[in-house]
């Protein structure tokens, strides 16, 4: 059993086709905390002590967000900047997060084939996520394989439904054993 914290960042959630369904699929479970960052901090004024307390009380952290310009939405970057403080999350004294696991749950507009060395974008998604991976490992945590919904521009409603189901099972597996399915 693991306690899971989903940190969700989406600046235009009300217009999102995929993430609304994904969020609906998040299981209602006592060990899972879902936190909607844009709802919490419309003025980007992240409450550092509150966020740190939440991190401390969970074992697994999920960053759920769409990929914008090969990166995280700005509020999530703001959150990383402010919450992962030197001396708390990293540095000689910073061991608060040691041993926790972090996973990204992301969506991309382009199909999986475009995220290949020889594809349109010239890199794999894991390569684009390198800054996150390094941030996580610098904080003495483990970065696991992400959950990815590729090609959202072309997904039918039915496909999105399948992806939502898949996300649900993935989260349930995290709750069960602390690692992705």
């Amino acid at each position: 059993m693991a306690r899971v914290l989903v940190l969700f960042a989406h600046p235009s959630f009300s217009k999102s086709r995929v993430h609304q369904r994904l969020v609906d699929a998040v299981p209602d479970h006592p060990d899972l905390t879902f936190r909607d960052l844009y709802e919490e901090y419309p003025d980007f004024h992240v409450n550092v002590p509150a966020e740190q307390a939440l991190l401390s009380s969970h074992d697994v952290i999920v960053f759920q967000h769409p990929i914008y310009w090969y990166s995280v939405p700005p509020l999530l970057k703001q959150w990383i900047d402010l919450v992962l403080e030197h001396g708390w999350a990293y540095g000689r004294e910073g061991r608060a997060l040691e041993g926790k696991r972090v996973l990204s749950a992301v969506s991309t507009g382009g199909p999986e084939s475009s995220y290949q060395r020889e594809g349109f974008h010239g890199r794999t998604l894991s390569e684009f996520l390198a800054p996150i991976e390094r941030t996580v490992t610098l904080c003495r945590m483990e970065y696991l394989e992400p959950f990815v919904v590729y090609g959202t521009h072309r997904l039918s409603e039915e496909d999105v439904g399948h992806e939502a189901e898949r996300y649900r099972s993935w989260l349930l597996a995290l709750l069960e054993n602390g690692a992705g399915a």
């Binding site: 004024h45 919450v83 030197h86 001396g87 610098l138």
Partner: protein, 640 residues
Amino acid sequence: MSLESFLADAFVYLAAAVVSVPVAKRLGLGSVLGYLLAGVAIGPFVLGLVGAEGQDVMHFAEFGVVMMLFLIGLELQPALLWRLRAPILGLGGLQVTLSTLAFTGIGMGLGFSWQEALAIGMTLALSSTAIVLQTLAEKGLMKTEAGQRSFSVLLFQDIAVIPMLAVLPLLAGHAGVGEAGGHGIESGHGTTTWIAGLPPWGVALAVLGAVTAIVLGGRYLLRPVFRVLGRTRMREVFTAAGLLLVIGIALLMMQVGLSPALGTFLAGVVLANSEYRHELESDIEPFKGLLLGLFFIAVGASIDFGLIASEPQLIVGLTVGLLVVKFAILFLLSRMFRMGTDQGFLFAFGLAEAGEFAFVLLSFALQEGVLNRGTVDPLVASVALSMTLAPLLLLFNDRIVRPLVGTRVEETGEADEIHDENPVLIAGFGSFGSTVGRLLNARGVGTTVLDVDSDRVELLRNLGLKVYYGDATRHDLLETAGAANARLLVVAVDSPERTLRVVETARKNFPGLTILARAFDWDDAHDLMEAGAEHVYRDTLDTALRTGTDALQLLEYRSYEAFRASRTFLHHEEESLRMLAEHRKEGRSVFLSAARQRIRDLEDILRADLEHEELERDAGWDPDSLREEYGEGPPPGDPS
């Protein structure tokens, strides 16, 4: 009548109402039945507290019906009335015609002459506007299909009374000399009216003139008058003006031989779009309620149990026959007009009784010599009895019939909505309230606005905004503005005292509302939170913070740094406010003058500022600690 006996009577009637209505409501019987039973109780056959003057009281109290029609008119926009024309003319016309024919046929079958039978038929075709509308409104059924249809039929009946009164004298000539009867509100006859000596075309002109006067006056004259009155900010003047309007129209209508109820209804419709609608509604409402209650009591008191006891078969037979025939026709019509079964039952049970107009028509028929007393008295008794049974029939429908046919409890007849049902109420529409309102409207959120400045209301309405004149510290006004169904109340009135009163009133009467209140200083913010406002906004706080931010920028702080500082300060401020509110609750017993309290608050705030290290904390972007740790050698993992 001496003052003392007047007061004694008033005492009896009011006491009867105060005792019986809560009991009836408690038993789930509705207020109408409570009033009627109270009337029976104080009437000559039980306690004997009221006697012959009961008839006068009834005629006086019928004015409650006039007021009710005015209020109904106020809620009925002309466009909605136009949409209801088919049910009014079709359904209402058929109901009155078929019922009249049926009763006339039965009457002739029983050996009455056709003239007498027709007079009886017309009389019994009508239902009780007062009982049906009051009961339906109380049960919240006015917006259902059956409610709207019932209203349409009742409206047609109110109109139909006029030709009926005109026809009755023509049927005379059988019952001998007319006897003196009471003059109901429907009849200007017997008193001198303006039109008494006029030829028919003159009468027509007078009628047309009166109606035109109401429409034009309502549209062009009343609003400026109300605006001037509103400017005095004296509520009782406004109430007086509302009553004056209703009484004046009633008098005018009686002078030209029209139904005063119809005239005031028309005036109500004309004013339905006006900004003074809610204020008028809540001014007239208590008078209407009292008079209607009085009316129901008088009906109860007027039931002649002596007659019923001496001829029980006749009266009971008449009453049951009356109810059965009307019910059958109404239910048939509900089928023809494709109403649902449960709605059909509600409609038919509701309108099956005879109405208050029957008293008027019967006494007029007696006076004109169409019917004789031997016919009229049993009819009056069974009309009163059927009216007393009407709420019981609806109760029977509620408890027994509907569960059997039961499909839908209520329908949300979207097309025929009467009230404004905006999710947000804004009290006060000065620069504060109007900014809130404009922001919401820009996102397509509907707002209902109340303001006490009549000039401002006029101006804003000319700009096409939905603004009403009215004092939001009154719960009845909040009620008519839709507070029971709204989600949010934004209190943006001009003074701390009034703000607090609005919050207290709203909290007490509408627990479902979330209240957002504008506060003026710390003290006042605390009071508002204690009074139950969920969200409190200090008037000057955001402006002050913006000023402070600009000051920092002018001192060469970076824009973003200054902005962050002000946001941090704002969050800190809100937290302190909640914390101090708790403090104050605990320290209640300690006596502190308001001024001392303010100084202490300020002291607490400043101390909290000093202790609050988070004010300085943007450490994630601060390289100091990093330089300290890694300054000596090469940084192994500097993220900045």
